[in-house]
Each structure stands twice: as C-alpha cells, then as structure tokens.
Symmetry: C2
Subunit: 392 residues, 2 copies
Amino acid sequence: MPGDIFEPSEYERRIERTRERMRDRDLDAIVVSDPANMNYLAGYDGWSFYVHQAVVLTADGDEPVWVGREMDANGARATTWLSEENIRSYSDDHVHSPHDLHPMDFLADVLADLDVDGGRIGLEMDAYYFTAKSYTRLGSNLPNAEFEDTTLLVNWVRVRKSKRELAYMREAARISEEAMLAGLDAIEAGVPEYEAAAAIYDALITGTDEYGGDYPSIVPLMPSGDHTGTPHLTWTDREFEDGDPVIIELSGCRHRYHSPLARTTFVGDPPSEIEHTADVVVEGLEAALDAAEPGVTCEAVEKAWRDTIAQYDIEKEDRIGYSMGLGYPPDWGEHTASIRPGDETVLAEDMTFHMIPGIWGDDFGVEISETFHVTADGAEALADFPRRLFTA
Amino acid sequence: MPGDIFEPSEYERRIERTRERMRDRDLDAIVVSDPANMNYLAGYDGWSFYVHQAVVLTADGDEPVWVGREMDANGARATTWLSEENIRSYSDDHVHSPHDLHPMDFLADVLADLDVDGGRIGLEMDAYYFTAKSYTRLGSNLPNAEFEDTTLLVNWVRVRKSKRELAYMREAARISEEAMLAGLDAIEAGVPEYEAAAAIYDALITGTDEYGGDYPSIVPLMPSGDHTGTPHLTWTDREFEDGDPVIIELSGCRHRYHSPLARTTFVGDPPSEIEHTADVVVEGLEAALDAAEPGVTCEAVEKAWRDTIAQYDIEKEDRIGYSMGLGYPPDWGEHTASIRPGDETVLAEDMTFHMIPGIWGDDFGVEISETFHVTADGAEALADFPRRLFTA
C-alpha cells in the first residue's frame, strides 16, 4: 500500500521542504501531532487519533519516526513507507491509564533515543489532539529541551499541491458532485432531514463507477429553515417543510483529500428575495474566482467579493474561504491562508481553496461555494455543478 | 429544541453532581472543552469543535456559560437551555488568526467577568480539542489563577446513565442491529470494501422506521483479510476475497448516545481454526457478561474472560472494554473505567460499557462485542444480535 498512493520521491520532497523550514528556525526535531501532517510526511492513515500519536522528524535523520499505540503499529506498517526501526509503539497501559503512565512519557524516550532530548524541539502547540497535558508531560520528561511552537510549519508546506494531490482532489470533486445531486434529489417537503443525510452519505462513500470515497473530515451539513443561521448544527428527525431554504455543504474525499461544495435549495417556490440573494452570491463568488490568480493576495480576492455585493448594499464580515486539501476530522481546512481582509498571503500556482461565501437575511441564508485550484494564470473550480439556487 | 432531548431537571442534577466534585476539590470554576462534556452540562450539540469552544461552570453561578465562535452562537441558542447572557461568542478574527488573537484571550475575559480569574480553575488538560496553546495562552492571560487538572471530572459524573440516556442508548442499539445486518448482507467476494461501508452508513443514518440516526463518533471499521490485525484502518477500494475474515465494528447513534457492536464474518467457508476461535470469543464474552453486576470490579469482569480463554491456552493482554455513551468524534468512549487488569472501578447500576474482546491468530482476528448496561443484579446487552461467526 505505501507507494501506491504517492511515490517515495513525493514524500522525499515533502520532507526536504519541511526540513528547510526547520533549518530556518534552527530546530533539531519537530513532533507532528496533526493527523493530516502525520499522513503528509509518513503516509500514516488510520482512525487512531483518539489516542496520542505523532510523527517525529529530526533535522538530519533519514526517515521520520512514527510513534503510536501498539495496537496501531500494524496499521503504520501497512500505510507508511517507514522501516521497522522507525515504527515505535507504546503498550496499552498508557491508554486512559489508571496508573500514572502517559504516551508522552514514551515519546520522550523516543526523542532521547534520537538524541534530540537536549535540543530545540518544535511542537504543534495548537494542533488538534496535541493536548495541554501532552505539553506539560513532555516538558517534565525533557527538562533540557527547548520547545518552539511549530503549529503550522508543516501545514504551510502543504499549501501548494502536487499533480498527484490535485488528481485526488479532482476525484473527490467527482464524488462531491454525485453527493450534491443525491442530496438535492432527496430533499422535499415531508422528508426527514436524516433521510437526505443518509442519501448524501451513501453517495459520498459509494463514490463513482471507478472508485469509492473515504469518510469526509466534516459530516454533511444541511442547515434548513430558520436554522440556515446555525451553520454547524447537524441533521435531526425534523421533516423538511414547504418554505424551507436548505444549505447543503459536503465534501467527497479521496485518499483523505477533499473538494468541498455547497449549494442552496428551496422547498417550494422561492420568494424573490431569496432568488435575488442567490444571484448576488453567485455574482460575488464569480467575481472572486475571476480575481484569483498567482501574485494576488487573499485579501484582494475577498475584496472582489465584497465590492460586488456592496453594489447591492450588502456587507458581510466573516472570511469567505480557506486553504484546504488533506484532512481528518474535525476539519478539512489547513488553517493557513484565509480569504479575508487582512490576509496578505500571495496566491501561488497549485494552491487550493474552498471559497464559501454566503449572505443571510432575517430568516434565511444562501451559500454557494466552489473549491478552486490556482492555475498558472487564474483559478479553476474543481467541481462542475450549476451555480444557482435549486428548488425542491 | 432544548428540553426536548432532556428535561431541565436532568441538567440540574448533572450540574449539581458536577459541583459536588468541584467542591471536593475546592474549585471556583471548571472550563469544559470536551464536546461530550459541553453537551452533558449545557445541551450544546454542533459540529463546531474544530474551533476552540468551552462551557464554563462556576462553583456558585446559576447556569453554565457557553463560549464559542460568533457563527455558532445561534447553534448554542438553538440547542442549549442557557439564557442569552450566558452565550458568549468571539469574533471571527480569532479563528486561525493572522493577527495575534486567540479564542482563549476571549475566554480569559469571560472568566474575569465571572470573577474567577484569581481563583482555582479546573482545566481538562488531556481532553480532545484543549490544545497546549489553549493552556499556555490562558495562563499568560490569567497570571493570578491557579490551574488544576480536571480532565475526567465530568466524565466520571457521566458513568451512570439516567433512564432517558439509557432509552437513547437502546434506540442506538436498534440502529446498530440494522447497520450490522446491512454490513453482513453487503459483504461478499468481489464487492469493494467501500460498498459495504456505504451500506452500513446508509443504515446508520436512516435508522429505524420511527427515527433516524446521528453520525457516529467513529466511522464503521471493517478490517479484513490479514488486516484484521490493523483494527483502525478504514475501508479502501480493495474487493473482498474468498478466504477473508472481516471484522465489522460500528455504532448507531441517537442524540449523540452510542451503542457499539462488533461481529466477525468470513468470506467463503471458514477454516475450523477460525470457527473454534469464534466459539472461544463468544464463551469468554458471555463469561464476562455473566460476571458483571453491581459491586464487582472491572478487573474481575476481565478475569472472567481471561480465565475462560486460558482453558484454550490463549492469552490476551489488551483491555477488553470501556465505559461509554455520549460522544463526539474522535471517540465514543468516556476514558473512565476500563475492563482490564488493574482497574478497580466497582460496577454500579446504570453504568454502560462496550465489551469488545478479540483473539488474533497469525493471519486473522475474531472480535465479537456487546454494549451492556449494568442492571440491579446483572448485566443486560443492549443489542439483540446473534453471537457467532457469520459467513458471506
């Protein structure tokens, strides 16, 4: 399996680019806890991030070292390209231990074994799954180490995608199209929300005729009715009703790469106010897509959206997009560049973003999104799905 | 919606029991970051744990205080029973901020406003989503606070379930049965793993004739072939083959309450070694279930399993079960009591566990599990599903 998904040379490039950033910050090692970064550097892929685990990359070692639970070492053997000596696992009495044992005690031993326990060690201080306790425990085990916050160090290496990564994101986009169709087909008055969610899930995992889909890092979200103002509530037993606006946000996933897509549908005949709002969202979205090209800043892309909707006396202050791709629950975003005022990140070829602008009225909201790839001279939406208000 | 899922009096009891534990530890407040604990105390339910959020409970305040992102405040209004003044939200420039803003800066202000910024504050140091950075940032904002590690304080309050909680777990068990049937039906030689995963997902969300299912906190796991030794790898495009053992582990979910279930199936005619192993697992599982009753320790339950399989010269060292119920990704376990040697937790009525023993040979594994409820005088499995090796 290792080598099937990415060539060894691709991992080598990732590691070289990561080590360049480590050298810039004079780091002897980094401890990578974010599951997406673990996958990026070592290929590791398993639903094991509910226990502590990490990939350690030293400044001058040959290979990264995977550290995890004994039960998951076979999973590391199956999915990473690491040699046996670089798969290090702790025993099960470190897991939710009634004794005073913590996986970070084991990780500290690994760092000592790698001879970096007295060096400058980067920690992903604000990454999912790297808890406060992990930090204090590492600190008490490694009194001579100097810790640096390297939260987004690997994430920034991830922002420009390789051809193979883009191919997986395009495959994910095909799945997103299928799942969006399934959701739009399922939603009608009298149908419970969960039935639409089930139809979307079925399509997300069944995928296309050629390949299946992974689990997405975020469940399909379908805020409806006056809940379009609660974007992160999940489905319930409630039945869709005539007069409901429904926002569908979902993502296909392929080898952990995503291509999110959002559309809005209306149950029954939409009031002209909602149709007009949808037209404005599409116009603003397309203006922002037109503005995106290498050399332009993220905030300039956002401004194209904001200037467009301002013609209709509409203001919106949230960010409208973010860099994304590889991900694990709870998020497919990379937490690097955002499309919003104040973000001066300059777009470069092969960056990928989910641009998801929306406008909310008093009792409805409209969101229409695209995942796009920054090309040599512009931006290409990965999905091919009509940009308009749908009706059910 | 608040009040539909649990009566206000149930939240009051939960808070009173939590405050008892806070008094025992002389705490002025706790900051609850685990999404399951946030739900337990305040009812909050949304896929928003990818940004920092918390529920603050003071020793003598009236209501908990929800703290989260502005975009999620409406979700808090919709799902919690809290009054408006206790829903406090931070602006979007705190999210993956290019400025030096962190949600914990806002939380520190809330703690000051609640007049506990100079007091003893409990933090869930090892909970999912409470990052190292959250901790250091709170510390620099609150130089006069004294922090205590209260990682499992609320989790231990959760171990004994109310009638309503048990009712939801029984509903989840009905969904687990449907999903297991769907998985067993789907698996056969030539079918890709993702198609079985899609069938399981469809059943998990479609639920029963009376109600739908929530997303489970862990995706369906289906290690197959020689991958039964990699329990946390997820499905791929691989097709099931004649001769594959397949372990299916899944859970229905209802209002975030789970009832996990595992069974093993074999594609083709199972070798007698596997049939024998399955018989041993069932015998051991049933011995452990028979041993479970109020007053007995967790380790005694494990011993019943271990003594049984020892008769067949089999040893296994991992834990075979854990307390569970309410949960969010990445886990449905409570991280409190485990069924394993050394865990002296005494079973009490209305605790709930997932007991998932397994035995691995060189190239196969067999797991057969039950979620059980500790009754007044024994243990009751929540699902009603044959305990045996299946064939496909």
